[in-house]
Amino acid sequence: MTPTLALSTNKSVYTTGETITVTAAYTDEQTVAETLVINGSATDSAGNTVTATTTVTINSQQPEHMDVTVTDDGGRTYVMTSDQPGVMTFTATA
């Protein structure tokens, strides 16, 4: 699996002085993602049964830590505020 990096921000439009929060999510070849389907059923006293299902993703193996740097074309300095396996957050002032 090819390593990937995706950036997202808390807003699409800022005003000067606001805090820009950037989330950097990365994966590598070690990341194993499994799709888990959870099924449920409920039965009343009369024997009527109703079912539902939901799907979640489980990373059964986190990616190895990667160093991430964030910059922009306006010269801002981005400070890391969180560093979790596969997800880091950075902030700067708009």
């Binding site: 090819t2 390593p3 990937t4 990096l5 995706a6 950036l7 997202s8 921000t9 807003k11 699409s12 439009v13 800022y14 005003t15 000067t16 820009i20 950037v22 950097a24 990365y26 590598d28 190895e64 830590h65 990667m66 160093d67 991430v68 740097t69 964030v70 910059t71 922009d72 074309d73 306006g74 010269g75 801002r76 300095t77 981005y78 708009a94």
Partner: protein, 310 residues
């Protein structure tokens, strides 16, 4: 309010040195900044005066004289902008032929390399080239544009990565008027002075006309509409790096300087166009030091921005 596109980029590197990159685009609304000129020739620390006169200026307009060493700006006034958390609008001036020859590359490289982080560092080359090109034939439109592009390439190569440096063009509002109404007698086409789309704001120095040889006054609409049109045509915000007015109105005109400033600001605000910054030309006939009413208005703009408009 100018809207500036911003591209945020990230690079992730694993333990083996493999890299992967990504980017995301956002926009930043940038309120118009209000400030004043800084006269460097006498060495006076004008920020001391500005703190009293205009309160919290958001941007200073500093001039480096023709063929001068820009060290006074880089060594003194740039640091003052940083300490006051103000943006900068600085001009440099070298003969286009000298720039094109490369003889100014070293001084220019050093100039840009010393730009300081913080607020935006606006810079311009040979502000008001109008007369040099279209009146006195000091240099040509072509040479001016080539020199501009050369300087911009030096800026892009030398401005530190953590500095938001932006080139702005600066010409005379007067040049944009039709000849029939207090305008120049011969054409001064804007596109003859526009060096290219690397320009990030189009500047016009605007004066009331009250200190002209034959004083006159024109309406805000006559003065500003054409400037906004040019900004829209080129897809750029505009700025007013020199905004000034003398104390005495023309004979028969009942406006005060304060009223002229107020009328202009109200009109500009009503247009809602994108204005990067406006700096008052606080020198000579336009010095507001002893004009309490006028400097109160300008102080309100510097401190409050557009909400401070009388």
């Amino acid at each position: 309010m100018p809207i500036r596109p911003l591209t945020i980029s990230g690079i992730a590197t694993d333990a083996e040195g493999h890299r992967v990159s990504a980017s995301v685009s956002v926009s930043v609304n940038e309120p118009t900044m209000f400030g004043s000129s800084v006269i460097t020739s006498d060495g006076v620390n004008h920020y001391d005066a500005f703190d009293t006169l205009f309160g919290d200026i958001k941007i200073s307009r500093t001039y480096c004289a023709l063929n001068s060493d820009p060290t006074p700006y880089t060594s003194k006034y740039a640091a003052q902008d940083v300490s006051h958390n103000a943006a900068s609008a600085v001009s440099i001036k070298y003969n286009p032929i000298d720039v094109i020859s490369g003889s100014k590359d070293a001084v220019l490289s050093n100039f840009f390399a010393q730009f300081k982080p913080g607020k935006v560092r606006w810079w311009t080359y040979w502000h008001e080239p109008d007369d040099e090109i279209y009146v006195n034939s000091i240099f040509t439109s072509s040479d001016y544009k080539v020199a501009w592009a050369h300087i911009n390439s030096i800026a892009e190569a030398n401005v530190p990565a953590n500095v938001d440096a932006r080139p702005y063009l600066c010409v005379m509002e007067y040049s944009m008027r039709p000849a029939t109404k207090h305008g120049p007698s011969s054409p001064r086409p804007f596109d003859g002075m526009y060096p290219g789309d690397f320009i990030q704001s189009i500047g016009f120095d605007v004066y009331s006309g009250w200190n002209d040889k034959t004083p006159y006054t024109i309406s805000p609409s006559e003065q500003f509409d054409k400037l906004f049109s040019i900004g829209q045509q080129y897809g750029k915000p505009i700025c007013i790096p020199e905004f000034g007015c003398s104390a005495t109105p023309p004979t028969g005109v009942s406006l005060t300087r304060t009223q002229w400033i107020t009328n202009a600001l109200r009109y500009i605000k009503s247009r809602g166009d994108q204005i990067s910054f406006i700096t008052w030309w606080n020198d000579q006939f336009s010095d507001l030091t002893n004009d309490l009413a006028a400097n109160t208005v300008w102080k309100s703009m510097c401190v409050n921005g557009w909400p401070g408009t009388p």
